[in-house]
Structure formats: structure tokens, C-alpha cells
């Protein structure tokens, strides 16, 4: 007797809807086992992870703050993945955006520059992120080089470049030798939404990005092209859609969004440029994109959920001394379950009885 996969006649919409929920359920079940192995009370740990952050307004704001870069990057990545272009280097585009935007902030520091500074930072960051993403896209389209590998290599390059700047030319002379720029001037800082809180304008921008992506994918020809090229490349060719052009376009857009997210993070919650400005947002956003079914609204929900795991992880570390890496393990396991459950949209399990196999003579 053997369990085998069988292709469904058509994709199951029921499973498409419930599979993220099943995946989250399975992940939590796995986490319970992991907490038990670590010698922590699983119920208390789950409470610290998923309930406690939802009970006070400070944590709720933190969740929104953390979700902002995740959602913005994941929206861009979802466009790439829908078009079957594998941008894995959002982390690098995020860092380069942060660097490019910080450039103006560093140059105008201490001068009486006006309110134009922040918008210019945003534009520069988006442009730099887009250009940085275009490197792998053009290498792919012109030379056929794997965009997966090139975009990923550029993450390390961006990381080292940022490191060089904050240890060298941009280092704060009053920073006690720490590798960081000086705190940005108020005109170079993302405004807060709530007085005394941490919620900032970036969250609104993220919501606008979600809405724009929903309109692009649902209501425009370009969005239709992206989906067709990804889902049915042959049909797209017959339809006269240019797949290469879409790779360039989706990479540029996702790079721009990642770059924008980078400067929003630096000019918002962080307040200055330093190494380690991203706890792996670019990679976590890949999970957000898949958990959100590559759908803008889904990504918004998934982004909030993964932000919850970051905040919950921090609280669990403080309250129960649970290592911070548990959050990364959690996110990895979640991605596995999401992908596995998605398999059931296209396939179903079937039991094959041995006598039937013999009768048909395999081997």
C-alpha cells in the first residue's frame, strides 16, 4: 500500500482558502513540541508569542511598525513571483535603499535644510533599490544568468557597502567609535502618527502600496500580463506578452519598494544608519509573500502575522528566556507548511493498493 499524489482536475478553491490556516495550525503544533524540547512551558510560551503582544497598545504599534517593511517588500516580491521571476535579493535592495536615502540625511545634517529632505530621501531610496534590482534582472534577460544567485550575491555586497560607510566616511564623530551615523535631523525623519508612540507615516505608505498592488493586479492589463506570464508562459507568448520586459518591470518595482522600505525603516524607527538595520526583513518577506498567497490583501494579513512573531519572539525572550532564533525556526517551519498545504490545491493524496500495482506491472 502506498500513498501517492494525484493531480486534481481543477484547483481546489476551498483548500486555497483554508490552507494558510491549516499551515499556521500545524506550525503552532510543531512549536509546542519545540518549546517542550527546550524545557519551556508550551502554553506560557504560546501566550507570550501570540497573545501577550496583542494586549497592550505599545506592542500593537510595534507590530504595525514591524509589519510595514515586511508588507512593502512582500508586495514587490509577489509581483516578481507571479511573473515567475525569482527575486531573492530584496534584503540587498532594502539595504541599498537605506544607504541611498541616508546620503541626503547625512549631507544635510546640521544645516537648515527644509521639508524637501524627506521626500528626496524617499525618491533616492526607491530609485537606488530599483537600480540595484535591475542588475540581476538585466543579467537574466541579456545573458541568461540565474537571477536567484545573482540577486542573492548582491545582498552580501550591499551589506558590506553599508558596513564600509558607517565605519568610514559617514561615521558619527561623536558616536564613541560605534559604527553608526549621527541621529538624523527632524526634517530627515519619518513623522510619527501618534504623539509619544512609535507608529509612523510608513505604515500609511504600506497601506497605499497594498491598495495600489490590488488595483494593478485586479484591474489593469499589466497586472493581467504579469499573472498570465507566470501561470502560462506559452499562452503568454502566443498572446504577444513580453516575458523579459515583465522580469525587468517586476524586479524594478520590487527593488523600488524594498529600497523605500529600507529608508522608511532607517529614517523612522531606527533614526540613523547602522549595520544590522534589518533582522532579515528581505528574507522574511518571502514567507509573507507566500503565506499571503501572492495576493495584496493576503500579504497585508500575513505581514501583520509575521510581525507578531517578531514582537512575540522578543517578549518570549524577555519573559521566558526563549532564544530569539526560535522566531526564525518558527518562520522557516511556517513556510514549509504553507508550501506543503498549497500542494493540496493542485494535488490530492491517493492510496494505491499493492495488488493493483502488480496487476499493471511496474518495473
Amino acid at each position: 500500500m502506498q500513498l501517492v499524489l494525484e493531480k486534481r482536475a481543477e484547483r481546489s478553491n476551498t483548500i486555497a482558502l483554508v490552507s494558510p490556516l491549516i499551515a499556521i495550525g500545524l506550525t503552532i503544533a510543531t512549536m509546542v513540541i519545540l518549546f517542550a524540547i527546550l524545557g519551556k512551558n508550551p502554553l506560557l510560551a504560546l501566550h507570550a508569542y501570540f497573545i501577550a503582544p496583542l494586549t497592550d497598545s505599545y506592542s500593537l504599534q510595534e507590530i504595525a511598525v514591524k509589519a510595514t517593511p515586511l508588507v512593502m517588500i512582500a508586495i514587490g516580491l509577489s509581483l516578481c513571483y507571479l511573473a515567475n521571476a525569482w527575486n531573492i535579493g530584496a534584503e540587498g535592495q532594502f539595504l541599498i535603499g537605506a544607504v541611498a536615502g541616508s546620503w541626503i540625511a547625512v549631507k544635510t545634517q546640521g544645516t537648515d535644510a527644509g521639508a524637501w529632505v524627506l521626500p528626496v530621501m524617499f525618491v533616492l531610496a526607491a530609485a537606488a533599490g530599483a537600480l540595484y534590482a535591475l542588475i540581476p534582472a538585466i543579467c537574466k534577460v541579456k545573458f541568461g544568468a540565474s537571477e536567484i544567485l545573482t540577486s542573492l550575491m548582491l545582498v552580501y555586497v550591499a551589506d558590506l557597502f553599508l558596513d564600509y560607510l558607517v565605519r568610514g566616511p559617514w561615521r558619527d564623530p561623536q558616536g564613541f567609535n560605534f559604527p553608526t551615523t549621527a541621529e538624523f535631523d527632524p526634517v530627515a525623519t519619518v513623522p510619527l502618527l501618534i504623539e509619544g508612540g512609535r507608529l509612523h507615516l510608513g505604515s500609511i505608505i504600506a497601506l497605499i502600496v497594498v491598495a495600489a498592488a490590488a488595483i494593478l493586479l485586479g484591474r489593469t492589463i499589466k497586472g493581467f500580463e504579469i499573472r498570465v506570464v507566470g501561470a502560462a508562459p506559452r499562452a503568454a507568448r502566443f498572446g504577444g506578452f513580453n516575458a523579459n520586459q515583465l522580469i525587468i518591470l517586476t524586479f524594478a518595482v520590487s527593488g523600488a519598494l524594498a529600497g523605500l522600505a529600507g529608508i522608511i525603516e532607517v529614517a523612522g524607527p531606527v533614526g540613523h544608519l547602522q549595520p544590522g538595520i534589518s533582522p532579515g526583513y528581505g528574507f522574511t518577506a518571502i514567507i509573507v509573500a507566500f503565506l499571503g498567497r501572492l495576493n495584496p490583501l493576503g500579504i497585508l494579513i500575513a505581514g501583520l502575522f509575521l510581525a507578531l512573531t517578531f514582537i512575540g519572539g522578543e517578549q518570549a525572550q524577555i519573559a521566558m528566556k526563549i532564544p530569539l532564533d526560535v522566531t526564525k525556526v518558527f518562520q522557516g517551519i511556517l513556510l514549509f507548511y504553507v508550501l506543503a498545504c498549497d500542494s493540496l490545491i493542485l494535488y490530492r493524496f491517493k492510496l494505491v493498493l499493492p495488488n493493483r500495482q502488480v496487476a499493471r506491472g511496474t518495473g
Binding site: 501517492v4 499524489l5 494525484e6 493531480k7 525569482w86 531573492i88 542588475i135 543579467c139 541579456k142 545573458f143 541568461g144 544568468a145 540565474s146 536567484i148 544567485l149 545573482t150 542573492l152 550575491m153 548582491l154 552580501y156 555586497v157 558590506l160 557597502f161 558596513d163 564600509y164 565605519r167 568610514g168 528574507f283 522574511t284 518571502i286 514567507i287 507566500f290 532564544p323 530569539l324 532564533d325 526560535v326 522566531t327 526564525k328 525556526v329 518558527f330 518562520q331 522557516g332 517551519i333 513556510l335 514549509f336 508550501l339 506543503a340 498549497d342 500542494s343 493542485l346 494535488y347 494505491v352 500495482q357 499493471r360 511496474t362 518495473g363
Partner: protein, 305 residues
């Protein structure tokens, strides 16, 4: 002369983990499976390898821990990509994300600990030969193993029947299946072999390259190994050349810092990654007349019965 010798020794040491990991991935890809989780398997191999060696005091058992850890990780991949026919790119990424987390979790207790690294071979007389001796007869066991490994893989792929069948699965799984070969089972073994190699390559880092463990110590070597497989056009011979070239770039970067070249260290450190991008572009560009990749690489196969 001593400097030349030192550089060659350093290049071999830097190349060995790349060569081991890339050889495993080459077999995996030759069977038609693209496992992008090499970095994840390597980093777990590094943590488990160090843990094993630290707990038992034996480098060999440490290496074994690394191999087992890499294999177990690859089994998760096989279950997903082969058993459930999930997109291989996404699954490989998931494996790396999970691996980074697991490695941090396992390794957390070992940060700051030290072990005695793998001993280098010493044969009186032979090892003492100037220049040649240390390079040929004074390496650690991993270096010799890596050469033997890639040679055996070459022999297996091109001189044995199972090797032929494995390549057939990679080039045309439908035909291989029609001929009655168990494509998914063969691919599972190929994925496990790749995982074992990646785990060993990861374990090499704390067991022989440095005597300690730090989180994230693979630093993208798994991804460079993946690029090397492309570089080699899926041939073991060229893989050796590629791995040593990349080892050389890594060491060049380290030595240039030592020689006081007036370039910021971060730019030198970026060299291996930039070299990877450039090599990928040049190779893909040179390859007119179609790709040399296994024809079924990365495609999902669900046998109909």
C-alpha cells in the same frame, strides 16, 4: 617560497568546503532536482558538527554529526519537493531560512567555545620536501576526502550504470519513468547525497577552518557552491577548477588586507560575491547553443500510474 606555500595551503583550505558542497549539489542537480537549500544544510552542519566535536572531543564524530544533520535537512526537502511536488525554488529557500534559525538555536550554547581543529597529515620525509611537501602531504583529512569525493562522483556519473540512470532522470524523467526506473526514489537518494555533502562542508568550517563556531559562519558559501555548479556546466572536472579559483579569490582578499593594500577591507570582502556574479554572467553569455543544465532540472515530476 614560504609565502607561496602558505597561500596555496590557505587556498586549498578555503576551497575545500566549496568543493564538497558543490559536488553534492552537482549530483542532486544531475538527477533533475534544484535544491537551493545548500546554505541552510551547510549552516546546520556547521552547528551540529561543532556540537558533536565539542561533546565527544573527536573531529571525526563531529564530521559525522554534520553529515547526519545535512542528510536530515535534505530529507525535509525531499519530502516537500519530491513527495508533495512543491516548487523546488520555494522549498530550497524555506530550507535555508529554517537552517539559519536551527543553526543559531543549536549553536547558541557553543559560541565562545574552542576545540582543537583537525590535525594536518605529517609523513616524515615526504611532508618535509620543500614547497611540494606541505601542499601534497601535509593537508587535513577533509582536503584529501574532497578530492577523492569529486573523483568518485566523476567515476560514478560517467562510468557506472546507476550513474547513467541518475543522469537520465535529470535529463528526461518521463522517459526514465517509462523505462521503469523509480525516478522519485533515485532523486531522493541524490538529494540525500547532496545534503550529506553540504552538512560535511558546513562541519569543515568549525572543525578545520577555524577552531570555533559563530552564528552565520557559512557566510553565503552555500550559495557560492550553487553558483559553482553552474560554473562547472554540471561537470565534476570543471568543478574542481572552479572551487580552487574561488578559494583563491577568497584568500587573495584576505592577504591583500594583510599586505596593506589601500582598499577598504569591506570592498575586498565583497570580491568573492562580485566574482560570483561576474562569472555567472560571463558563463551564461558564453553559452550559445542552449544551456548545458540537465533538461529536467527544477521541474516537478508526479508519476502517473
Amino acid at each position: 617560497m614560504e609565502l607561496v606555500e602558505a597561500i596555496i595551503l590557505a587556498v586549498l583550505a578555503a576551497s575545500t568546503p566549496l568543493l564538497i558542497a558543490a559536488t553534492g549539489e552537482l549530483v542532486t542537480e544531475r538527477s533533475g532536482v534544484l535544491n537551493l537549500g545548500v546554505e541552510g544544510m551547510m549552516i546546520v552542519g556547521a552547528a551540529c558538527g561543532f556540537a558533536g566535536a565539542w561533546l565527544t572531543g573527536s573531529i571525526f564524530i563531529g564530521a559525522l554529526f554534520g553529515v547526519v544533520a545535512g542528510t536530515l535537512m535534505s530529507l525535509i526537502f525531499a519530502l516537500m519537493a519530491l513527495g508533495l511536488a512543491v516548487n523546488q525554488v520555494a522549498t530550497g529557500l524555506a530550507l535555508t531560512i529554517l537552517g539559519v534559525g536551527l543553526s543559531g538555536l543549536i549553536g547558541a550554547g557553543f559560541v565562545g567555545e574552542r576545540i582543537t581543529p583537525a590535525v594536518h597529515l605529517y609523513i616524515p620525509g615526504l611532508t618535509d620536501i620543500p614547497l611540494m611537501g606541505r601542499v601534497l602531504f601535509g593537508e587535513d583529512a577533509f582536503v584529501y576526502f574532497s578530492v577523492a569525493l569529486v573523483a568518485s562522483v566523476w567515476w560514478f556519473l560517467y562510468r557506472t550504470r546507476p550513474g547513467l540512470i541518475l543522469r537520465a532522470c535529470g535529463d528526461n524523467h518521463v522517459s526514465a519513468h517509462a523505462l521503469g526506473y523509480p525516478v522519485l526514489r533515485i532523486r531522493t537518494f541524490a538529494v540525500m547525497f547532496g545534503g550529506a555533502c553540504a552538512g560535511l562542508a558546513g562541519a569543515y568550517l568549525p572543525l578545520a577552518y577555524t577552531p570555533f563556531f559563530i552564528p552565520g559562519m557559512t557566510a553565503g558559501r552555500g550559495w557560492i557552491a550553487l553558483a559553482l555548479v553552474v560554473f562547472s556546466s554540471w561537470r565534476p572536472g570543471r568543478l574542481v577548477v572552479g572551487a580552487y579559483l574561488f578559494g583563491a579569490v577568497t584568500i587573495l582578499q584576505l592577504h591583500a588586507q594583510g599586505w596593506g593594500v589601500g582598499i577598504p577591507s569591506q570592498f575586498m570582502s565583497a570580491l568573492p560575491y562580485l566574482a560570483t556574479v561576474i562569472v555567472l554572467v560571463l558563463l551564461s553569455r558564453a553559452r550559445t547553443g542552449g544551456s548545458t543544465a540537465p533538461a529536467a532540472l527544477g521541474t516537478v515530476f508526479v508519476p502517473d500510474r
